[in-house]
């Protein structure tokens, strides 16, 4: 099965107590305000992104992201194209999930 190399970059905007960002099982840490990484994934696979946001109920979360192969082909979650806007609804917590096909 062929492997695709890609880069992912995202910003998570809002007023939060904390944000935990995962690509698959790997936690990605913010660098200069952005969550970025380079990845490898089998062709036909899915990139699962989870963004755990802690903050006030009612707080808006804006997730902007770009995901593109080395050759420039862009990928996105067909159900949640960038920019994804959600709100923390209860428990002062929300997990925002992306599922990006390759």
């Amino acid at each position: 099965m062929a492997t695709i190399k890609f880069s992912f970059e995202s910003t998570v905007s809002g007023v939060f107590d904390d944000v935990d960002f995962y690509a698959g099982q790997t936690e990605i840490h913010r660098i200069n305000g952005k969550y970025s990484f380079n990845g490898e994934i089998p062709q036909g696979g899915f990139l699962n992104i989870a963004i755990d946001v802690f903050g006030d109920n009612g707080q808006q979360i804006d997730v902007a992201y770009t995901c593109k192969e080395t050759g420039g082909i862009k990928h996105e979650d067909p159900a949640k194209p960038s920019v994804v806007t959600e709100r923390i609804a209860n428990n002062r917590f929300r997990r925002v999930q992306l599922r990006i096909p390759f």
């Binding site: 698959g24 952005k34 109920n57």
Partner: protein, 378 residues
């Protein structure tokens, strides 16, 4: 000058304003809150100018989280095994993530996280209006300079479910210098008016608060907290205030009269003292509890606040104050207050032994508003 200064200050602060990521905890009618920065980046610091109409004050706070805590995620290192192998255009080292065909995400972390930060605050107040703070050489009638440290903990589980419960502890030390002048009614007329004299004193405080979900399905926001402070205060606020103006009457011709008042750049307000009411500077212990409720039913646009407090003066007087506030909040950002309306009943038991009716001596209404500014430290 006064009429010009306030709009200028307002316009200046408005132009400098940026969407807020700070939050004032334990704010009261005198804008005596303690702002701490909400996490965005530990490379940023928060500057919060704040206006209060109740004591005609302007306060500026500076706050910054220290690196290493959960509020400064940039200080974290990538986990072992995810060694950076490339560089972003801005120079940042990126992690390399190798994924399976459908690698699932892990469950929500349940590990509590910790952080700490520090801040400075400067408050200036005037007795004749906010605009007079900036007038000429007379900077202000009262100046407070202080420093504080904050310790935060975030618990990520509540009743076995993922949740955010944020607990903060704040320790602060302030030094206040006030400048007052008095009309001493129990002295001969030519000795009754004093010039400004300065009085200084320390205030040490500790505050703890918790932000938690509340209500049906945990959809509302509730902040609970308490604070204690020990200070050398004074009873200037309890004394009656009088305006004293030097006026001269001129008789022009036979039937017209001109009354001329001398402009006093230091204002007209004097505190009134006599044999029954004198200026005192007792030590003071204050205990305050604080609750803020932000319901989903109002789309998180209004915060209901109450903060009853007990002030025990070591001259034997104990005052009970009941305070209430409504904050109008920014849409989609319940932690950001656009404007706060305050209503206070001070000294409900009349420990100051004022002779005025209850509402006149006790009820105070005020407004505070703030702008949060950021400095990006490269």
């Amino acid at each position: 000058m006064k009429q010009v200064a306030f709009p200028l200050v307002f316009a200046l602060l408005y132009m400098l304003s940026i969407s807020g990521h700070g939050q004032d905890f334990f704010e009261d009618i005198r804008a005596n809150g303690i702002p701490i920065l909400q996490p965005d980046s530990c490379k940023k610091a928060l500057i919060t100018p704040r206006l209060s109409t109740q004591d005609n004050s302007i306060k500026v706070n500076f706050f910054k989280w220290r690196g290493g805590g959960f509020l400064c995620q940039t200080a974290k290192t990538q986990p072992a095994g995810d060694q950076p192998d490339s560089t972003r255009p801005d120079g940042a080292q990126l992690a390399q993530v190798v994924l399976g065909p459908d690698t699932p995400n892990p469950p929500v972390s349940t590990k509590p996280e910790y952080a700490n930060g520090w801040g400075l605050n400067l408050k200036a107040k005037a007795s004749d209006g906010i605009g007079t703070i900036f007038r000429g050489a007379d900077f202000a009638n009262g100046v407070t300079l202080g420093a504080y440290v904050a310790f935060a903990r975030l618990d990520k589980v509540l009743n076995g479910r993922p949740a955010g419960v944020f607990t903060g502890n704040i320790v602060s030390l302030n030094y206040t210098v006030n400048s007052y002048r008095f009309l001493q009614a129990n002295k001969p007329v030519n000795e009754q008016l004093t010039d400004f004299n300065t009085y200084g004193g320390f205030t040490a405080s500790f505050a703890q608060f918790r932000k938690m979900p509340f209500g049906t399905d945990d959809r509302d926001n509730l902040y609970l907290g308490y604070s204690m402070s020990f200070s050398q205060s004074d009873n200037y606020g309890d004394l009656e205030k009088v305006e004293v103006r030097n006026t001269v009457q001129y008789l022009i011709g036979t039937d017209s009269l001109r009354i001329q008042s001398t402009v006093d750049d230091k204002g007209y307000v004097y505190a009134f003292t006599d044999d029954k009411s004198s200026f005192l500077r007792p030590f003071n212990f204050q205990f305050r509890v604080h609750a803020t409720y932000i319901p989903k039913a109002l789309d998180y646009r209004i915060a209901f606040v109450t903060y009853p407090e007990v002030n025990h003066q070591f001259d034997g007087k104990t005052k009970l104050n009941a305070n209430f506030a409504l904050h109008f909040l920014k849409d989609g950002e319940p932690s950001a207050s656009i404007v706060g309306l305050f209503l206070s009943f001070n000294d409900i038991g009349n420990a100051a032994e004022k002779t005025q009716p209850f509402l006149k001596r006790s009820l105070v209404v005020g407004i505070t508003t703030a702008w949060n500014l950021f400095i990006v430290k490269k």
